[in-house]
């Protein structure tokens, strides 16, 4: 679920399949239909994963994207984690190493967690509160601080602390005994239960010889598997961590005896192999198929082996509110009416690969509110209404608009669909093509941004708290690395963000984010386009595979297994 912009981009491009993940428990039928995917996995066997790119990092303090987060759950545990299951069921936060979701103090500034019994590292030593504390402390080391930022954003005194290697003990985390850990926050944070499910809350032995760089080379497992061998860029093998106790873990089914990743495969070749399903590939899973392969997986036999689900992200058109034309809300509303979302959907690969979005918050977000402020028949755009608004804004003949486009087939197709719909209301869209590798950097640099850009956002966990503020908080507009690409700075929105963040009741806050989504939509700083989906073909012998919305729609690794382990 969390991803850096870059990786977000990758996830949004069906061509670069993110990690396939395995999923859980065969609790429900999957998008593509039954077959082996829905059956319960048996114990044992080796599950193969075919993947285009290697994981960014084995050290959880550094890795931070849907694919690697999914993988981390096999070897690491955090205080809380996401549940298993399809859709919103899977993105719910549940206890992992902790016995419950934590207890906040009256003032909301202190959160206390108690660790479960029977939790061990791969060498058999018990995991204590000091180990959890050390794991969090490590993430403050400047060398490692490129992962999930939520410990830095929430804990008191985070600005002055640079990790255990230079600053020693971090006073904001207390460990009164081996089982209890207390966090002191800078200000109340109602959703701190989700924060402690982030990768930087993975424990590492406090009294061991773990250095800043050692974990990335040799991870220390707290989850059901440990790394047996790793050839960066080529292969990774996981085997069982004998010291992991099933009784202490309600989330991970962990059925296979081992996992083998093969990295560096061409996307088209992966599709070819998954469709062919020869030899070991009957026990294999992979990331989302390429749009070009969609037509080839329509045969009944392959459909039986297909799993699909939403990525939990939103693809949207950001309108730069600092530019001449798009600074006018009427113009932005006109654009919102004019865009033919069904054409954008077709350009993306059709209904199999994307649902149409009318809200910024995707349906997997707790508290998401359904609404459509700019409706049109069949989502094909309302030219009349848009023309009216443009006339009212003083541009009856339209105007030129420069759209930043990622130089990649799918995103270009989406841009062309936008271009065509806007040409119907006189808006003349020209493209500024940007290299795939630097796209998110360019549109995140305020001085280089043009009038509009097509991009996407995935939340760090499934509430509005990690979705709306980064995109719409006017006080978080940065010259570089900016995520509020609409550059909207609306006092009412800013104030509401603060109010919701200060709410102590999580359900109330979640519902409030849903309402805020609508409040923002009235200003039309962005046009939600699509909720893109992941579509994966799995091997014939794979069981319990489903798409987890918290991991970019990848197959939930901790739930998937083999139907027949001896095959």
């Amino acid at each position: 679920m969390n991803k850096r912009n870059v990786v977000l981009g990758l996830a949004l491009t069906a061509t670069l399949a993110l990690t396939a993940c395995s999923g859980g428990g065969g609790t429900s039928s999957n998008g593509g239909g039954g077959g082996g995917t829905g059956a319960d996995p048996g114990d044992g066997g080796t599950l193969h994963v075919l993947q285009t790119a290697d994981f960014s990092h084995l050290d959880p303090t550094m890795g931070f994207d849907g694919g690697v987060n999914n993988f981390y759950r096999l070897i690491y545990r955090t205080l809380t984690t996401q549940s298993t299951g399809e859709g919103a069921e899977g993105t719910e936060i549940v206890p992992d190493l902790a016995t419950d979701l934590g207890t906040p103090s009256e003032d909301g500034l202190t959160w206390t967690f108690t660790l479960k019994d029977d939790i061990f590292f791969e060498d058999g030593s018990p995991i204590t509160s000091a180990d959890v504390k050390f794991g969090v402390e490590r993430s403050f080391d400047p060398e490692l601080a490129i992962g999930t930022p939520y410990a830095r954003l929430t804990l008191a005194g985070a600005d002055e602390y640079e990790g255990p290697y230079s600053d020693g003990d971090f006073a904001s985390i207390e460990t009164p005994d081996e089982k209890t850990i207390v966090f002191h926050l800078a200000k109340p944070y109602n959703d701190f239960s989700s924060v402690v499910g982030q990768n930087v809350f993975v424990p590492f032995p406090a009294d061991g010889d773990v250095t800043a760089t050692s974990v990335d080379q040799q991870p220390i497992a707290s989850g059901p598997y440990r790394v047996e061998s790793y050839t960066p860029g080529s292969e990774l093998t996981l085997v069982r961590n004998e010291h992991w106790e099933k009784s202490s873990d309600d989330v991970r089914a962990a059925k296979p005896d081992s996992f083998v990743w093969t990295f560096g495969l061409d996307g088209a070749t992966i599709d070819e192999r998954m469709i062919a399903g020869q030899d070991d590939d009957v026990n294999a899973i992979a990331g989302s198929v390429q749009a070009a392969s969609i037509s080839r997986i329509q045969t009944p036999a392959i459909k039986d082996r297909t799993v699909s689900g939403v990525q939990g992200c939103t693809t949207y058109l950001g309108l730069n509110t600092t530019k001449q034309y798009t600074s006018n809300p009427l113009v932005r509303q006109a654009i919102s009416y004019a865009i033919d979302k069904s054409a954008v959907q077709s350009a993306t690969g059709g209904t199999l690969l994307a649902d149409i979005a009318t809200t910024m918050l995707p349906p997997t977000i707790a508290g998401q509110k359904e609404f459509d402020l700019y409706p049109s028949e069949d989502n094909a755009g309302d030219v009349e209404k848009a023309t009216e608004l443009l006339a009212e804004a003083g541009y009856p003949d339209g105007f030129p608009l420069v759209l930043d486009v990622r130089n990649q087939p799918k995103m270009q197709a989406q841009a062309e669909a936008v271009q065509q719909s806007l040409s119907k209301v006189g808006i003349d869209v020209s493209f500024n093509l940007i290299d795939t590798a630097t796209y998110y950097e360019v549109i995140g640099t305020t001085s280089q941004q043009n009038d509009a850009a097509i991009t996407g956002w995935c939340p760090d966990w499934s509430t509005g708290a990690t979705f709306l503020p980064p995109l719409f908080d006017g006080r978080q507009i940065y010259e570089k690395g900016n995520s509020n690409i609409a550059q909207i700075n609306d006092p009412a929105v800013n104030a509401r963000i603060d109010e919701i963040n200060a709410m102590t009741d999580l359900d109330e806050a979640n519902a409030a984010w849903g309402d805020l989504d609508e409040q923002i939509a009235e200003l039309a700083p962005t046009v939600p386009l699509l909720f893109e989906k992941a579509v994966m073909v799995v091997g014939e012998n794979v069981a319990g595979a489903y798409s987890h919305a918290g991991f970019s729609g990848g197959i939930d690794y901790v739930s998937v297994g083999l139907e027949n382990a001896s095959e």
Binding site: H57, T211, D216, T269, E272, A437
Partner: protein
Amino acid sequence: MVGYLARRLLSALGILLLISLFTYVIFFLLSPDPAVLICGKTCTPDRIDQIRGTLGLDQPFWVQFWDFLRGFFVGRTYGDGASAVSCPAPCLGFSFQTNRSVTEMIETRLPVSATVALGAAVLWLLAGVGAGLLSAVKQGTWWDRGAMMFALGGISLPNYFVALILQYVLVVQMQILPFPSAVPFGEDPVRWFQSYLMPWLVLAFGYAAVYARLVRANVLDTLGENFLRTARAKGLSGRLILRRHALRPSLTPVVTMFGMDFAGLLGGALITETVFGLNGVGKLAADSIAKNDQPVIMGVTLLAAFFVVIGNVIVDITYTFLDPRVRIATR
């Protein structure tokens, strides 16, 4: 001869230095800020500055370049105190994306590229020179036309196309070969051969085509020379003329071309490796470009340049043995 060699090596070194300067300028000054890319989501200006500091990007360009050069020849140490990391010579820095040593990344992938290059080279030399000779000797026959048709195909079909067709036919349809993967020779020689066979065939097809045409043209040219007319007039057999007198002058240009092509391939067969999912240097280059991972791009570029420059020197030296005229000139 020693002086000639020294001069050649010195100029090669100069060229490599120039190339490294150019690549450094292109990748480090003209391309966007890698710190922002690493910073990613939920990024702040402070974080960007911090990352720039960690990567050494806050230093002036000349300092960065000098550190890079020094690192290559004598090694260097990154960071200080407890988190210091030493990078022994030849140090090419660390990947921005994975923090791994670029030198190590290249070392682990070079054997794959070398295997691809060697196997392909053997095939294309045999096929290219063979087909060229056959064509020349049997000029105008169906042998000639067939070989040249084949060559035309090799030159005009892009190798990614040939690769996908071959994979579809041999692996998916006929299931004669497995999907390629970089299996080490020691692990399973049969599987190793099967895995590399397709990349070899694909690469060799393209190169052999060029060689066949070159050899054919050269042999035909040489056969028309006066000294061969003389030889024929003296009554030497056609076979002897071909072997003794025609082949050697015809093949010397092939040596030049082979040296350059082979050296270029050692630096990675980018497309072939990517299509077949072989984790060689070419695949590394493709991946690092996609991620804007500058130190790795820099490393593979320099490696490729190194092979080409060195290949050039070796070709020149080989020439002095093959061609007496060059030998006189270099004295």
